[in-house]
């Protein structure tokens, strides 16, 4: 009995540490302490679980923890900062897979009693499996393994039909007096297919919202399986994450002015391409770009996914410092969904050493663009597309954007003439006061730095 008390008390302390940890992570000052507290909670919960009476298979358990933990630890240490979003996606998917696997073990044991327990186990299995498959697809897309968005004919119809069939099979499992292995097997296959099919057509611009949504999903799945296994620590941690993740997803979807249901069921490309854009893209060389910024009084930099892909944040900061030495006022404008995750750009700029007070949110800086001599757009596209304000037929009409087009001059650093990840034409690139600096952000900004240095001597 003393052991049982020790285990329950430890789970309780772990749950408190998780909540305090998350709370700590909500402020830059206490954020590091927050993750350490949550980490202590995790170690505590894991260690006391070994003391649970009546358990077997300890060798298998230790091997699984050692292998899974070590592989993830090493890959997490090695991955480049720019690849973080897909790492979060894949680790999240593994959590969802673990929740689904727990449900599978419980089904195989056939010792679940009562409709409520079976219902929650089934729900958790469904959500966990969808999160697992969807996260793997999200990872493959962001990692570049999977380049294009795949669309089935009548995608929405297929999604709904598949979801209905999956839920139907799930209901049959819950209602049936005995657990039917065939039904359970079919249910898991259906859930995995559903997660894959839902995620495949979603474009890169929506990926931050999708990763956040799957993070919330995994939380819920963990919470439900926690109920099935009777472990309150799992319920609390899972549901807290489920609620927090849902709110975060809403905040992001709101920033894009697109309801979550639209993102899942009406992918951007399907909504029509918007009006054709007239005019042509006008090129500029690194030397002219350098001169325009060096002799400006105010420059606003708008970073996007292109900067992350090229890993150009250090170069961008180096250029900023040079410009400031020359007396130019430089600030950074961050769109809430720039990059592939909310705060993605903030993390990269922080890594490069850009101070907080130079970084501004959309609402803070949008009024400043008309006073800026140059808006430097580095690998951002949809978040500066003026069609969102003007063109009602555009799929992104109504999405709040950074008004870079209102600056006196716009320089866009871009790899080529394509339309980018979402496939939507950007009217900004064709405006009279816009110049395009072709090349990867790393190389283009590097050349600009050389020319700024030359001008400063």
């Amino acid at each position: 009995m003393a052991i049982k008390w020790l285990i329950d008390a430890s789970y309780f302390v772990a749950a408190i540490l998780f909540i305090l940890g998350l709370k700590g992570m909500s402020s830059p000052v206490s954020a590091r302490k927050g993750i350490v507290w949550a980490g202590v909670g995790m170690v505590l919960a894991t260690v006391v679980t070994f003391l649970t009476p009546g358990m077997n298979n300890f060798a298998l358990m230790i091997i699984a923890i050692a292998v899974g933990g070590a592989l993830a630890w090493i890959s997490g240490k090695k991955v480049a900062m720019t690849d973080m979003p897909q790492m979060v996606a894949i680790y999240n998917g593994m959590g969802g897979g673990a929740a689904a696997a727990i449900a599978a073990v419980e089904f195989a044991r056939g010792e679940m009693h009562g409709v409520v327990v079976t219902l929650l186990a089934t729900l958790g299995a469904l959500i966990g499996a969808v999160s697992f498959a969807g996260s793997v697809v999200a990872w493959a897309k962001l990692q570049g393994v999977m380049k294009k968005a795949f669309r089935l004919p009548a995608q929405n119809g297929v999604n709904i039909l598949l979801a209905l069939v999956t839920v139907g099979v799930g209901a049959a499992i819950v209602i049936a007096p005995e657990i039917d292995p065939t039904l359970v097997g079919a249910f898991f296959v259906l859930a995995l297919v559903l997660g894959t099919v839902i995620t495949l057509p979603i474009g890169g611009a929506d990926m931050p919202v999708v990763i956040s949504l799957f993070n919330a999903f995994t939380g819920l799945a963990v919470g439900f399986e926690g109920f099935v296994m009777g472990i309150p620590a799992l319920i609390i941690a899972g549901i807290v994450v489920g609620a927090a993740g849902t709110l975060l997803t809403q905040l992001m979807a709101k920033a894009m002015n697109r309801p979550i249901s639209n993102i899942l069921f009406v992918p951007m490309a399907a909504a029509g391409g918007g009006e054709a854009v007239e005019g042509e893209q006008k090129e500029v060389g690194a030397m002219d770009a350098a001169a325009m910024m060096r002799y400006a009084s105010k420059v606003i930099i708008v970073p996007g996914y292109g900067m992350a892909v090229a890993g150009a944040q250090h170069k961008v900061w180096e250029m900023t410092e040079l410009l400031e030495e020359a007396g130019v006022e430089v600030s950074f404008a961050i769109h809430p969904v720039a990059g592939r995750m909310p705060g993605h750009m903030n993390v990269l700029l922080a890594e490069a050493g850009v101070p907080y007070d130079k970084i501004f949110d959309l609402e803070e800086i949008n009024g400043d663009f008309p006073q800026a001599d140059v808006a430097l757009v580095i690998g951002a596209n949809d978040v500066v597309n003026p069609s969102a304000r003007t063109d009602k037929s555009s799929p992104i009409y109504g999405m709040p954007i950074l008004n870079a087009d209102l600056a006196q001059n716009v320089i866009v650093v871009k790899r080529g003439k394509g339309t980018g990840y979402s496939g939507i034409e950007n009217a900004l690139f064709y405006k009279d006061n816009t110049r395009l600096l072709y090349g990867s952000a790393q190389q283009a900004i590097g050349e600009v730095i050389q020319h700024v240095k030359a001008l400063s001597v």
């Binding site: 998780f18 940890g21 998350l22 992570m25 909500s26 830059p28 590091r32 993750i35 949550a38 995790m42 894991t46 679980t49 070994f50 649970t52 009546g54 298979n57 300890f58 298998l60 358990m61 699984a64 923890i65 993830a72 630890w73 240490k77 680790y91 999240n92 959590g95 673990a98 696997a101 727990i102 599978a104 073990v105 195989a108 044991r109 993070n215 995994t218 939380g219 963990v222 919470g223 399986e225 109920f227 309150p232 620590a233 319920i235 609390i236 941690a237 549901i239 807290v240 994450v241 609620a243 927090a244 709110l247 975060l248 909310p342 705060g343 903030n346 922080a350 890594e351 907080y356 970084i359």
Partner: protein
């Protein structure tokens, strides 16, 4: 576990999660998503208990997968979050 007690836990935990995140600056959204991703890595504990109770080879195999994935979620989630937050720390000194 008593059904209503579980519903109370669900409800209170949901409010807690909602409150905890509602005051987060945009700058911390990515680390926080990563951090909450780490917290649901506690699914590892559920996986361990499921594997501990497994008897047939099938149950053992699935339980093994559950622990493997749960451990990866927890370990990977921690490392990635810690690395992101370490950058914020380094910058405050400047």
């Amino acid at each position: 576990m008593d059904g209503f007690v579980a519903i109370y836990i669900f409800m209170l935990a949901a409010f807690t999660g909602y409150e905890v995140i509602s005051r987060v600056p945009v700058i911390l959204h990515t680390p926080l998503m990563s951090g909450s991703n780490f917290v649901h890595g506690v699914v590892l504990v559920g996986g361990m208990i499921a594997l501990g109770q497994a008897e047939t080879p099938l149950e053992q195999a699935i339980g093994f997968v559950a622990v493997l994935l749960g451990a990866a979620n927890a370990a990977g989630g921690y490392v990635v979050t810690e690395r992101m937050l370490a950058m914020f720390k380094a910058k405050e000194k400047n």
